[in-house]
Symmetry: C5
Subunit: 324 residues, 5 copies
C-alpha cells in the first residue's frame, strides 16, 4: 500500500496531498528536487511496478519483499543505494522486543521507503525533514537521514525498558527470592537479538558520517554523524546489558549456592537440637535391670530438664556460630 | 563420475544432453562462452585426466581429491581460481549437521565442479543461472555465483533446524525436566562445526563482492554481494546460536542448583515433620518408674493428638515458608 | 549560569573579573588570543544565545543541553570542534561512582565549556593553563588540554577507591565470611559504567596526541600525549578491575563450594558420633525375654562405657580424617 | 652432528653421499644452485664454525642453539633469513604432545637446518623436493617449503589424536562415570601448548604465500599458500578443540550437579521409606499403660502389615515421582 | 643518586671511573660518541638539574619522578625520546612479583637512566654493550637496546617461577587436598599485573625492531628485533598462564563438586548401614503383648545375626556400587 508520495523541491514539499506514483516517476530527474514515495507492507505486484518504474535492482527488490533480518547500506552501480533498517519496539506485557523492517531505495532524485511489520512510523521522519528546509535542499539523502534518525531515536526507549527489566531482575536476585533463571535467560536472548539489529548498522552509518559512502555532502554528513553517535551509544549500552545479564546469571548461581549452604546449615542445626534429646530418650528406654536411675523418683524430671537444657544450649551455641 | 558437461555461450546452453569432456576441452578458449563440467565423487584417474586436459594446478587437484574441511577461494597465477565450499544438510533423526564439499576450478573459459559427500545438488544452480541470460553472458564467474548462491541458500534450513533444536532444549531446561546436558553439548558441537564451515568463507566472498578477487565485473559483483549478505546473516545467526548454547549450559546449571536447593528443602521439611513425633514416641518409651503420665488413662490419646498437632503445625509453617 | 568568562592573549589573562559574553563575542576573531567562557548547568535560553552569538552547530548545542552519556571529540566543518567529557567522582558512603559531563565548544578564538552534574571544577583547569604562558599562547587548544588533563587526573582517585573496595571484598571472600555476591555485582557494575566513560575517549585523545585531529600543533600535541598516556593507564586499570571482579565472583563460588563441602562433612561427622550410641540404646531397648546382658549387674555401666568409647573413637578418627 | 650436506643444482642433487661443509661453503655463491646442510643437535662449536663459514648473524645462531619455544620467520639484512619451527609429535602412552624445534638459515645459495629434540625427520622433506625438479630450480626457498610442508603435515596426526582423546573424554563425561577433571585439564593444557606452537606461524607463512616476505617467486609462493592453507586448518581445529574442552569442563560440572541432585533424591527417598516404619516401631515402644492395641492379639501382625504397606506405598509414589 | 656516568666513543668507554654530570653535559654534542648517565632513586632536585642541563621535557621529567606504572616509548620533537620500562622480580617467600621502573631519556648524544624500586641492575647492561664495540659505535640507541635486553631477560625467571607455582597448584588441586582458591586467585592477580607490565611494551619494541620508531639503524634494529622476539615469547607465556589459572579455578570447582558428591554418597552409605539395624532394634522394642518372637529363646541371637547380616550385605552392595 502506498501511504504517501510527495515531491520535495527548493526546501519544501511542493503539494499537500499524496501524488500518484506515475506522476512521481515522470517528475524524477526532469524537475529539480526529489520524490519521496512511502509504502507499507506492499504486495509483490506493487514492488515490481516500482522496480520497473524507477529501475531498481532485482536483488534489492527481492530483499525488500521479505524480512531480511540484517541491517545494511548497499551502493548499486546505477547510482541507486539500498538500505535496510531494523526497527525495534518494546512490548511491556510480553517483555519482548518486537522488530520490524524499513527498506529504502535511494536514487539521485527519489527515495522509496518500504515499511514492514512493527516498523517506526515514518510520518514523523517526514515532518522532521520538512522542518529543516536547508537540509531538505540537499536532496534525498536528507530523507535518509530523517529515517535513520527516527529509527535510532526509537531504539532509546527499548534500551530503557530493557534496563528497567534488568533492574527488576537484580532486585529479585539479591532479595533472595526464587531465582528467575528463565527470565534472565529470555531477557539476555532479547538483548542479543537487539544487538544483532543495531550492531551491523554501525559501520555503514559511520561511513556515511565520514562521507565515505554515497558521496554524502559535508553538511548532511554532520547530521549522519549525529545519528552515528546515538547509534554508538545504543550499541555500547546493549553490549553492557548483555555483559550485565551474563554476570547476573553467574551472581544468581552464587546466590543460590550461598542460600543452599544456609539451608543445609539451618537444617543441620535443628536436626542436632532434636537428635540429642532423642538419644537421651532412647538411652532411658534400655531395658537393663540394673539401671538405678530408673527407680529414682526425681530422675524423670531431671532427665526432662537435661533434655531441655541440652536443646537450649545447642540452640544458643549454634545461633552464635551463625548456623540458625 | 561426470554428471553434466555443457557449453554456455551467448547467454544460453548450446546443446541439450551432456557433452564429452574431450569436446569441452577442445571448445575451451577457441569458441566464445564457457564450458561447465560437473563431477560427483570422481576417481583419482578422472581428476588427473582433467588436470592434464585443462592445465589445473597439482596442489589444487590434490585438495579436490579428499575432504579439505576448510572453505577457501584461491587465485592461481595461470588465470585459474580454485574454490572449496563446505555444504551442509541437517539430519533431523540424528540431530546432526552432515557436511559435504564442492571443489570448483574456475578458468577463463571453463568451470569444473567436483561434488563430494552430501553436497548440494548443483543441477538447481545450473537452472538458476540459465534463467538469467544476461548474467550467463558474463562468463564462468556467473556459474560460480550460482553455486555459491545455492550452497549459502542451503545453509538457511540448517540454521532454522538448529534454532528449532535450541528452542526445544530451552523448553526442556525451563520446564525443570531432566537436564539435557549431553544434548546441549552435542548441539553446541554441531553449531561450532557449522561455524567453521561458514566463517572462513566470509572474507573471500566479501572480496568477490567488492571486486577485489578474480577481477569480478561490477554486474556480477552485485550478485556476489547478495551472497555475501546472506552469508553474513548465516554467520551472525550461527555466532548467536553458539553464544546462546553456552548461556543455556550456564542457565541449566543454575536451574539444577535451584532444583537441588528445592529438593534439600523439601526433604528436610518432611524429615522435620516425622522427627518430632518420633522424639515424642521415644520419650514415652523411657523406662522410668516414676513417669506419672504413663499411668494416666487419657495420656495415650493426648500424646497421639500432640503428635498429630505438632506434625500439622510444622507442615503448615513450613508450607508458608515455602519449604514444602 | 555563566561562571567565568575571560580573554586570554599573549600568554596571560587580560583582566581580573569575568567579562560579559557580548564583550567576549565582540573580541573573538578581532583581537588576538582567545576567549574562555564557562557555564554551569545553563538554561536552554543561555545555550541558544551562545549558539547565535558564536555560530555553534544546532546538533552540538542539542547534545550539550542534556546528558549525552558518551565522551566524544567531533570536528565541525566551520572550524568548530565539539567535545563531550564524562567526569567521575567516587562517593565513598554509597560505594558509587557519580558521573557528570563537560561539553566543550572549541573555535579558533573561543572556548565555551558547559559543566553539568557532578562535574570536575574547571577553575583548577584555568589555573593550570594560566601557569604555563608559553602553552597559553598556542590558543584555545591549550584550554582543551587543561580541561582534559583535569578530568583525567580526577579519574585517578576513582580508580584507587574502586581498588580499595576490591581489596576489601577480597578480604571478605577469603576470610570465609558471608559471601558478598551483591556487593561484588554492584561494584562490577560501577566499574563497567566507569569503563564506558573512559574507553570511548581513548581513540580521539590518541588522535589529538598524534596531531591527527583538530590540527593540534606539535608542542600542544605533546601535552595531549601526556593525557592520552594517563588515560591509557586508567583504561588498563579499569579493564583489569573488571576482569578481577569477574574472577572474584568465580573464586567466591569456589569458596562457597568448599565451605559447603566442609559443612556437610562436619555435620555428618557429628551425626555419626550420636547415631552409633543411639543404635546401642535402641538395641538394649529390645524386649526379648532371653537377653542375658539385661540381667547382668555390670552391663549398664559397660554399655555406657561402650557408648562413650565408640563416640570418642569416632570423634578421633574423624578428626584425623579432617572431617571435624 | 651433520647428517647430510648436498649441492642441488639444475633441479637435482649433484652427488650421492654427503659433502663436507668446507666444500659446500666453497661452492656457495660461486656455482649455480644451492647447498642444503642438515644438522641434528649440533654442538656449540659446530654452530660457531657454520656461523663463521656462512656469515650467519650472531643473534640467530644464539637462538638456534637452545630451545626458542616460539616459531618465527625473520629476514636479516645480509640476505639471510632465519626460521624457527616447532615440530610436534603425539605420545599416545603419556597422552602428551612432545615438541621439537627446527631452526633454518636461508641464504641466497644455502640452506642450513638445525634439528633439535623430537623434531620431524627432514629426510622425507629432501625426498619431497627432489621429486619436484622444477621447484628445486627455484633455489633454497623450495627447500624451506619442503620443510614447512613436512612439519605442518606432521601436525595433522597430532590434531587427530587430540580429537580422539576428546571423544574418549566426551564418552566418559556423558556415561556418568567418574568425572575426569584432571584429564580434561591436562588435555586442555596440551592443546594450549600446541596452539602456541602453531598460531605464531600463521602470519609469516601467510606473508610467504602472498609473496610479502623473502621475495618468494610466484610459483613457489603457491606452494607456500598450500602450506598456509593447511596451517590455517590446523589452527582452526586447535582453536575449536580448546573451546570444546572448556565447554566439556562446564558440561562436566553440570553433569556432576545433575548426578548430585540425583544422589540426594535417591538417598532421601530410601531414608523416607525406612523412617516411617521406624516411627511406627517407636510409637508402639511407648510405655503407656492404657494403650489398648498392645493387648489386641492381631495388633502385632497388623502393625507389621502397616509398616510394609507404608513402605511399599512410599516406594511406589517416590518411584513415580522419579526420586528412586 | 648518580651511580655511574661515562663517555662512550669509538666503540669503547673513554675512562674508568664515573664522570661528573657537568663534564658529561659539556662533552654532549661537542665530542663524538655519547654519554650514559645512570641514576638510582634520584631526588627531585637531581632530576630538575638534569632537566636544565640536558634540555629534557617537563612532562617526561614528571613521569620519571614517580611510578608511572605503564611501559612506553615516546618520541619528543627535540630529538629526545623518553622510555619507561617496568622491571619485575619474583619474591619466592611471598609468592609475589615485585615491580620496579626504569625511565630512560635518549638524546642524540646522551642516555640518562633513572632506576626506581626493585629495578634490574643496569651495570650488567653496560657490560653487555661494552662487549660489543661495533654496536656501541651506533650511539645511545645501543645503550637502550642493552637496557631493554636486560629488563626482558629478567622477565624470564619470573615467568618460570610463576610456572612453578602453577604446577604446584595443579598438584594440590588434583591430589584432592584442600582447594587453594585463595592461592589461585592471588597468583592470577600477580600474572595479570605482570601482563600489564609486559603487554604495552610489545607495540613500541616491535616498532623499534621494524625501524619505525626513533629512526633506528638497521644493524641496531636487528638487536631490537631479538628483544621484541623474547618479549613476544614472554607475553604469550603470560597470556597462557592467565588462561591456565582461569581454567584451574574452574577445574577446582569441578573437583570440589566431585568431592562433594563423593562425601554425600559415602555418608549416606554409612547412614544406611546403621539405620536398618536401628529400625530392627526399634521394632523389637515395641510393647505388644502378643509378639511370639520375644519369647523364643534363640530370637535374640538370631536378631543380632540379622542385624549383622543386613549391615554386611548393605556394606557389600554399596561398596560394589561405588558409594563407599
Amino acid at each position: 500500500m502506498i501511504v504517501d508520495c510527495a515531491h520535495y523541491s527548493d526546501g519544501r514539499r511542493q503539494h499537500e496531498g499524496p501524488m500518484r506514483p506515475e506522476e512521481a516517476a515522470a517528475i524524477c530527474g526532469r524537475e529539480p528536487g526529489f520524490v519521496w514515495l512511502g509504502m507499507v507492507d506492499p504486495s509483490p505486484d506493487e514492488l515490481f511496478s516500482m522496480q520497473a518504474t524507477f529501475g531498481l535492482h532485482e536483488l534489492a527488490v527481492e530483499d525488500a519483499q521479505g524480512f531480511h533480518l540484517r541491517p545494511k547500506v548497499e551502493q548499486y552501480d546505477e547510482d541507486i543505494a539500498f538500505v535496510v533498517l531494523r526497527t525495534a519496539r518494546y512490548l511491556a506485557d510480553r517483555e519482548e522486543v518486537e522488530f520490524g523492517e524499513i527498506s529504502i531505495f535511494l536514487g539521485a532524485s527519489f527515495l522509496i521507503t518500504v515499511r514492514q511489520g512493527a516498523a517506526s512510523d515514518l510520518h514523523t521522519a517526514r515532518l522532521r525533514i520538512e522542518e529543516r528546509p536547508q537540509l531538505l535542499r540537499e536532496g534525498p539523502q536528507a530523507g535518509l537521514w530523517a529515517i535513520l534518525d527516527k529509527v535510532v531515536d526509537d531504539y532509546a526507549p527499548v534500551v530503557e525498558e530493557l534496563e528497567r527489566d534488568i533492574e527488576e531482575i537484580e532486585q529479585v536476585v539479591f532479595s533472595g527470592a526464587a531465582a528467575p533463571v528463565h527470565r534472565i535467560y529470555l531477557l539476555r536472548r532479547e538483548v542479543s537479538d537487539f544487538y544483532r539489529a543495531v550492531h551491523p548498522l554501525l559501520a555503514p552509518v559511520g561511513a556515511l558520517a565520514r562521507g565515505g559512502l554515497l558521496d554524502v555532502s559535508p553538511p548532511v554528513a554532520q547530521y549522519f554523524r549525529d545519528v552515528a553517535d546515538h547509534l554508538n551509544l545504543v550499541n555500547e549500552e546493549v553490549v553492557a546489558q548483555r555483559d550485565l545479564l551474563t554476570t547476573i546469571l553467574q551472581a544468581n548461581m552464587a546466590v543460590i549456592g550461598v542460600e543452599q549452604s544456609d539451608i543445609v546449615r539451618r537444617i543441620s542445626g535443628w536436626a542436632a537440637i532434636i537428635t540429642v534429646p532423642t538419644f537421651i530418650a532412647s538411652f532411658y528406654g534400655m531395658n537393663f535391670e540394673h539401671m538405678p536411675e530408673l527407680r529414682w523418683e526425681g530422675a524423670y524430671p531431671l532427665v526432662i530438664a537435661l533434655m531441655v537444657l541440652t536443646a537450649l544450649g545447642l540452640h544458643r551455641s549454634l545461633k552464635r556460630a551463625g548456623w540458625l
